[in-house]
């Protein structure tokens, strides 16, 4: 009897382990969705869009080189166009792709690319087509979420700053099938009409799902920050997944821009902790402190376990012994003051004799000795 129980227990364990391995494998599966980028922008920008999609871990992205691509092969099409000379045949293939349940992401002012094409205007959700215009200058502007629950924006901050970019005007003339996710204020000082304009919106067309983001038009090889914006990247990745599948499985990045601060990923993915620390080493008050505040964000969002804080503590102690700037070390002493341990005390006691860091070390010691 006892053996039988043991056997059963072992079998159950085996099933659990195999099941977990299966799950693990699922997580580790290579990108399962296919994306086609249709763009007439500079090659480097096309490559960047491909990188963004692939960095989500969900997509195999391809840059279209054909005049009449086989849309049906892809889960999602990403349009980033200034002018599209599509033949009637391509147009009709495109419409049937969407009607049949295909996903589309429309970036920037791509909807202008087709001129007066009534069917497409309906598809992209904008009735004005050719009448779209943009701000004269690029500038930072705030996105304001208008919908509490949509898979693309759920879990993200509802107000966030976009890096310097053109704001696309006249987008308020939406068709009835469009659902606005976020707007931006078109300031008259920037040539706007003093109204909130849709910037992120979705459209259902036939069986298909379309995600539209008017962001990213100012991007060029010399000025990539409009598409390096973590907001742009996140919206493209999540919008593409939603257009392809109807759901979003991606987690919200903790360093998503907020209502007052923009944030970019230079290489289209979040920095690793060590990269953040390395870039923090040159900080001086008055220069950008984004890497330091990025570090604080990680700390704040960590799981709060002793071993996690211990890992961060080790990193800070190494930092304090490195040749990082005084200002960056002062910042790190502040963080250490609350999340350090006994282990930090000897390093801080040594710093008490350092004329530049004595006060900061004392600050941390007062809290650690509480």
């Amino acid at each position: 009897m006892r053996n039988l129980t043991l056997l059963l227990t072992k079998t159950i364990w085996l099933i659990v382990v195999v099941g977990m391995l299966g799950l693990f494998n699922q997580c580790k599966e290579p990108a399962s969705l296919s994306a086609l980028i249709i763009s007439d922008s500079e090659n480097a920008i096309k490559e960047d869009l491909k990188t963004i999609l692939e960095n989500s871990g969900l997509f195999d992205a391809e840059i279209s080189k054909e005049k009449t691509p086989d849309f049906a092969k892809y889960d999602v099409l990403v349009l980033h166009l200034s002018r599209a000379a599509w033949s009637e045949e391509v147009k009709s293939k495109f419409i049937s792709y969407v009607n049949g349940g295909g996903g589309v992401v429309i970036l920037g002012a791509s909807s202008m690319a087709f001129g007066e094409w009534a069917e497409l205007n309906k598809l992209v959700g904008i009735t004005t087509g050719d009448n779209l215009s943009r701000s004269d200058e690029s500038f930072e502007f705030q996105l304001i979420g208008t919908k509490e629950k949509h898979p693309v924006t759920e879990g993200l901050l509802s107000k966030w700053m976009h890096t310097e970019d053109y704001l696309i005007f006249n987008s308020e003339a939406l068709t009835g099938n469009a659902d606005v996710l976020a707007t931006a204020w078109a300031d008259t000082l920037q040539g706007g009409n003093g109204a909130h304009l849709p910037v992120l919106f979705t459209v259902n067309f036939g069986e298909g799902r379309i995600f539209h983001s008017t962001l990213g038009t100012a991007a060029s090889t010399e000025k990539r920050d409009p598409i390096q914006c973590v907001g742009f990247i996140t919206m493209l990745q999540r919008g593409a997944e939603w257009a392809a599948t109807g759901v979003v499985s991606q987690e919200a990045p903790i360093d998503f821009p907020n209502s007052v601060s923009t944030h970019i990923w230079g290489d289209y993915e979040a920095l690793k902790l060590d990269e953040i620390l390395e870039r923090s080493m040159t900080y001086k008050v008055g220069k950008s402190k984004k890497y330091l505040t990025d570090f604080s964000l990680r700390l704040r969002n960590c799981d709060g376990k002793v071993e996690s804080y211990a890992m961060y503590e080790d990193k800070i102690l190494q930092f304090l012994e490195s040749d990082a700037t005084i200002d960056s070390k002062k910042y790190m002493c502040r963080e250490l003051s609350w999340m350090g341990s006994e282990k930090s005390i000897s390093t801080l006691e040594k710093l008490i004799n350092d004329k530049d860091l004595s006060e900061s070390a004392s600050y941390a010691l007062q809290r650690l000795r509480m």
């Binding site: 907020n258 950008s288 006060e359 509480m370």
Partner: protein, 435 residues
């Protein structure tokens, strides 16, 4: 404790309460002929910190016949000059003495009472020093920059048996009193949640360059216990946007609407048992207080307080209590609204709970100086109001849910977060703890 304070009769210096300054008035005999108060019988006052709040408070007290202002103290010479002009203008003389160092001010002046209106990082040191001198104190909110400092002030006030009034003047305004009294008497039923809306955060400004310290300002003394930094043109007023000196709009206003929310629930001398929430902090620039904040406190009764910048709340600014029979909202501008307007017409019967009534916050302080009774916002009450704001700050800065013991005043689930109960001081400044 309370009884002994009530029975306490202020004695002259040299008595058993040697630490307490001699009263320059004798209650009951203070009024002279035709209602005028002879200078020798007036409450002798001085002020430390003469910026916008300090000047406002001074102006209010100068309007009281029973007060004689004799000295002011500020680290900014221009402010000293302006304040002295105001005081001298009132008495048509040139007698107001001026000081730049509060220690010299407290040492030399023989006062009954003092008004304090300094940046938050200075509150504890100066309040405790003034209490130890036996002075009755009208102190600006928030009580302190940290929870340990707030408790130390309460202890100093109680140990020295001085009168404390907090600048939480909303308690002396009719709509707030009426709203809190209706709520505490169950007119919207059993309360299950409260929303407290405070101002939206200040937008960051980048980091201004280092500048020469203005000749009139004692910058080192302005910094006091806060970390040494070069002068960048940020001192008066704008200290509110830097964590070393303030917690931003959240802590600036905790002593108003959180204070009122507590009042309506009878939570004046307790605190939440858990706190969690999220703050949005600027990534760049010298201002580092949250620009948005939103946290929820749970009390042991099960009542929750959601404290947030007003843009996030349906009623915006103010305190809004939600009970099982409706809601009631109060805000500045005499605003008082309820789910059913009839609630506001309800009369509180003679057997029901009557909240402390004051119609003039500054007069209430003067009356209590004479009666030795507690003011409408004593230090303990202020300590509990700011503790909610400060616990919210700690929850947001650590990104963790905190369990709080309102009796022992410790965070029970995180040694890390507990360290934020203090804000370290730069040498040689020390917090004088009475515990």
């Amino acid at each position: 404790m309370k009884d002994s304070r009530r029975k306490f009769i202020k004695k002259a210096a040299g008595s058993a309460f040697g630490m307490i300054a001699a009263p320059y008035i004798i209650p009951g005999t203070a009024l002279g002929k035709n209602g005028a108060v002879a200078p020798s019988n007036r409450i002798v006052m001085g002020g430390i910190g003469l910026g916008s709040m300090g000047s406002g408070n001074t102006r209010n007290f100068l309007g009281k016949e029973e007060v004689q202002y004799v000295a002011i103290c500020d680290v900014d010479r221009n402010r000293r000059g302006k304040a002295a002009l105001m005081v001298n203008g009132r008495y048509k003389n040139k007698d107001c003495r001026t000081y730049s160092d509060y220690r010299e001010f407290l040492e030399k002046e023989k006062l009954d009472a003092v008004t304090l209106a300094l940046p938050d990082h200075w509150h504890a040191i100066v309040s405790i020093a003034a209490a130890n001198k036996g002075l009755d104190i009208y102190g600006e909110k928030p009580l302190a920059r940290s929870i340990r400092e707030a408790r130390a002030i309460v202890q100093a006030v109680e140990k020295n048996k001085v009168i404390w009034q907090t600048g939480s003047w909303q308690r002396s305004v009719e709509n707030f009193h009426k709203g809190a009294e209706l709520v505490i008497n169950g007119r919207i039923g059993k309360i299950n949640r409260v929303e407290v809306g405070l101002p939206n955060g200040r937008k960051p400004i980048g980091t201004p360059p280092v500048q020469e310290v203005p000749e009139e300002l004692d910058w080192n003394m302005w910094l006091g216990p806060a970390p040494t930094v070069p002068y960048r043109g940020i001192s008066h007023w704008d200290w509110r946007w830097i964590l070393d000196y303030s917690g931003g709009q959240l802590t600036d206003w905790a002593g108003h609407h959180i204070d009122i929310a507590h009042w309506g629930l009878g939570y004046d001398r307790t605190g939440p048992i858990s706190v969690e929430g999220e703050g949005i902090y600027p990534r760049e620039g010298i201002f580092d207080v949250p620009v948005e904040y939103d946290f929820t406190c749970t009390y042991k009764t099960g009542v929750t307080f959601r404290v947030a910048n007003s843009a996030r709340l349906p009623h915006g600014m103010g305190a809004c209590w939600y009970g099982d029979k409706g809601w009631l909202h109060v805000d500045r501008g005499d605003r008082i609204n309820a789910s059913d307007p009839k609630i506001l017409e309800e009369v509180i019967g003679p057997e029901e709970t009557k909240l402390y009534k004051s119609t003039d916050h500054w007069q209430n302080f003067l009356d209590c100086i004479k009666s030795r009774e507690e003011t409408i916002t004593p230090a303990e009450v202020a300590c509990r109001s700011i503790s909610v704001g400060l616990l919210g700050e700690i929850a947001m800065l650590t990104g963790k849910k905190l369990a709080w013991d309102p009796e022992k005043e410790v965070i029970t689930n995180s040694d890390y977060a507990n360290r934020m109960l203090i804000r370290p001081y730069k040498a040689p400044w020390k917090l004088d703890m009475h515990a």
